[in-house]
Symmetry: C2
């Protein structure tokens, strides 16, 4: 299994409607991109002041599955139309998973 | 379920032995901390130059489970002895998960 983890922080002035559009878009990706094996995302619970605002954890069979996701038109459209306009910073890791969820 | 996601970047001069000590320490946490329901971590596959170096994805029953993990002596010792000395930056999100892995 190959896992993609990304943490995003929104810029100042980002509205709830803008964030909702991102969440709605993310929720639609598993149905649109067949290579997604598991997909989980959520907004930060607010326990730590330095945290990012949103996490996405996506699992694929292999690196090729991740690459297909990254390049998929549904994903690219979401990033271009809804994420990039409000994105202040982004950090990611992709890693091969053994056991565990 | 309550998920903790953290991405870490190591500072310049970090050695393979120092990273191995972190990975070995992480591998021991699920056996030491009973509140961990799922635990996955891995080093970045190197697909993107701006990526962080290590991801940890940990699942708990609830926020209290996460708090117990964060404060657990085995976790605190690993952070103090092996992670903090080589840590250049760290970003985290905690979020409540619904469906999905």
């Amino acid at each position: 299994m190959f896992r993609h983890v990304v943490l995003m922080t929104w810029g100042p002035g980002t509205t709830g409607d803008q964030v909702s559009a991102v969440l709605d878009g993310l929720a639609g990706l598993p149905a649109a991109i067949p290579g997604i094996r598991a997909y989980s995302f959520g907004t930060d619970a607010g326990l730590a002041p330095d945290n990012a605002d949103l996490a996405v954890v996506a699992d694929f069979d292999d690196e090729d599955g991740y690459r297909a996701y990254a390049a998929h038109p549904a994903h690219v459209a979401l990033v271009t139309e809804h994420i990039r306009p409000i994105l202040a910073s982004r950090t990611a890791v992709q890693y091969r998973t053994g056991t565990g969820a």
